[in-house]
């Protein structure tokens, strides 16, 4: 239902709740609280352990059975990260590649999304569903040919290869999400501009895009997060100089000797931080993003 027409969900999820009627459903907070508590243990137990391990000195972290509450707290694992030049490089690569991917995708997708939202022509619907379905093409399969092509043109281990490969999943996401935003822009706004003599280019660049700026930023942020979280493409198409954080952390910590668990937990917190901040910023657009992004996992 909702999926098919992101327009309906592009609006903030929270609607003003109707006046509570006197005969409203009885809250059963006890059952609800028990459910939340039970699922909370499953959901937050691992998060707690992630935090505790990242703050535990190595000697305590490798005790068995483990201490559930740290006797001493240390920040040495975070300073260890800062002392590792390879991690700083992965971090920089992640920022550059995710940012370029978001910019490229939002710019290219905006025109297509406008076309899908406001024009009617033969084949439009087929194109829309082709883009939608493409989110379902397995990455491991696309990767084979992408690797061969990038290899043939000497593009392996470049930012360009990573940006282009990330675009395979951000492009469908952005097209569908932006179409949802553009659907909500009234046709009258565009018609009025036309009557005033504005050309198509002016309509897009002076009216549509400025009016949709929040949507463009939200979409770009979703694309950034998806790029930031990528693992398989960066693992395969880039070596240690151009790799992003996710495969970089795997290569650094899950090599032959899996020893530095507290360091790895600290690094996990660092790599998760931008995404968590991004989602806090995006709260308003969460459902729109989830569904279009839905439209691409």
């Amino acid at each position: 239902m909702t999926l098919a027409e992101p327009a309906t969900i592009a609006t903030p999820a929270r609607r003003p709740s109707p006046q509570p009627s006197p005969r409203r459903r009885r809250p059963r907070p006890l059952g609800a609280a028990a459910t939340v508590a039970a699922i909370g243990v499953f959901a937050f137990g691992p998060v707690y352990w992630l935090l505790v391990t990242a703050l535990t000195p190595n000697d305590d972290a490798f005790a068995f059975p483990p201490r559930l509450w740290p006797d001493t707290v240390t920040f040495e694992h975070f300073t260890n990260l800062a002392d590792n030049p390879a991690l700083a490089r992965y971090l920089g690569n992640s920022l550059i590649v995710s940012l370029l991917t978001a910019l490229l995708t939002v710019i290219v997708s905006a025109y297509t999304a406008y076309s899908f939202a406001k024009f009617r022509y033969r084949g439009r619907r087929s194109l829309m569903y082709l883009v939608l379905a493409s989110q379902m093409f397995p990455q491991a399969l696309l990767l084979i040919t992408l690797y061969l092509v990038f290899s043939a043109y000497g593009l392996l281990n470049t930012y360009l290869a990573l940006v282009l490969s990330f675009t395979t999943f951000t492009l469908p996401l952005c097209v569908w999400m932006l179409k949802g935003f553009f659907d909500t822009i009234p046709d009258e706004l565009i018609e009025a501009a036309k009557v005033d003599g504005a050309g198509q280019g002016a309509i897009i660049h002076r009216i549509l895009l400025p009016v949709s700026l929040p949507g463009l930023i939200a979409t770009g942020l979703f694309a950034f997060i998806r790029g930031w979280n990528d693992f398989i493409f960066a693992l395969t198409l880039a070596g240690p100089e151009k790799q992003t954080l996710p495969p970089g952390l795997v290569n650094t910590y899950l090599g032959e000797f899996q020893a530095a668990w507290p360091d790895l937990m600290a690094a996990s917190l660092v790599v998760s931080l931008p995404v968590v901040i991004g989602f806090i910023v995006l709260q308003r657009y969460l459902v729109a993003g989830l569904t279009s992004g839905a439209v691409k996992g």
């Binding site: 909702t2 693992f231 668990w261």
Partner: protein, 302 residues
Amino acid sequence: MTTPTARPPGAGRGLSDRSFGFLLTLPALVLFGAIVLYPLVGSLSTSLFRQSLVLPGRSFAGLDNFRTVLADEFWPVLQHTLVFTIACTLIPFVIGFALALALHTRLPGRGVLRGLFLFPWVIPGVVVSFVWMWIFNANYGVLNGLLVRVGLVDEPISWLGQPGMAMAAVIVAKSWASFPWMMVMLLAGLQTVPQALHEAAALDGAGPVRRFWHVTLPHLRGIIGVVLLLETIWNFQHFDTIYVLTGGGPAGATTTFAVSVYDTAFKGFDLGRAGALGALWMVLLSILVVIYVWASERGEKS
């Protein structure tokens, strides 16, 4: 659905609105063709050749690769993929639905809780694997620590070292990462159920359980279908959690299509075989995708 844009007479600037509309899609379509459609067709076509990732040249192999794959890894890989997909769709669905219902009450702090519960879902997939790998660690893991402490087991268990346990561990990790998405989607759905319906049913003497079956569930049918279908499609091609947590092992017990195609191509360098397995994978996946697009199309028309 918006109405078609009316074209004022004389607005043609050499281009009609329609062809301009199509032109707008060209940059994205060209990019899309180059990085998505061409690679898809290219990768599928390797299934008909003997081809190596690292050596130039290839020779036509007919259907040999398919014969090899069907006689060898296809069936166990299909089985692992199905087990993983079904478990990692149903378990998060049940957890997410229960949580959505609990957060749809007047529970204090439910807004904040909704946000906090998203954490496992927003963090990068590799972090999900790191966290659970550490929890399941045979020597120092907290899971063994707790079990030993309460006396449920005498010896630490090698969770990721035994085939059955490893699959269960992967399913737990992936379910942990997936249930928040289900929760948000179902919560959004619950908010669209008209309160008046509940009140009318309550007046007719329907208790909470009957109202859930006869009011809430029928209303959520569409959204439940969407989340189950999408989650199934994603799990069917999931890679990150499995690959980092177990690498497909032990003894191939957690090798799904994604892991198998990846390893065959990038560790075995056998593109023909990877292509054949990928083509079979793609056929199964397309069935799900066709259902999904058909359902979306139907949803948009209604």
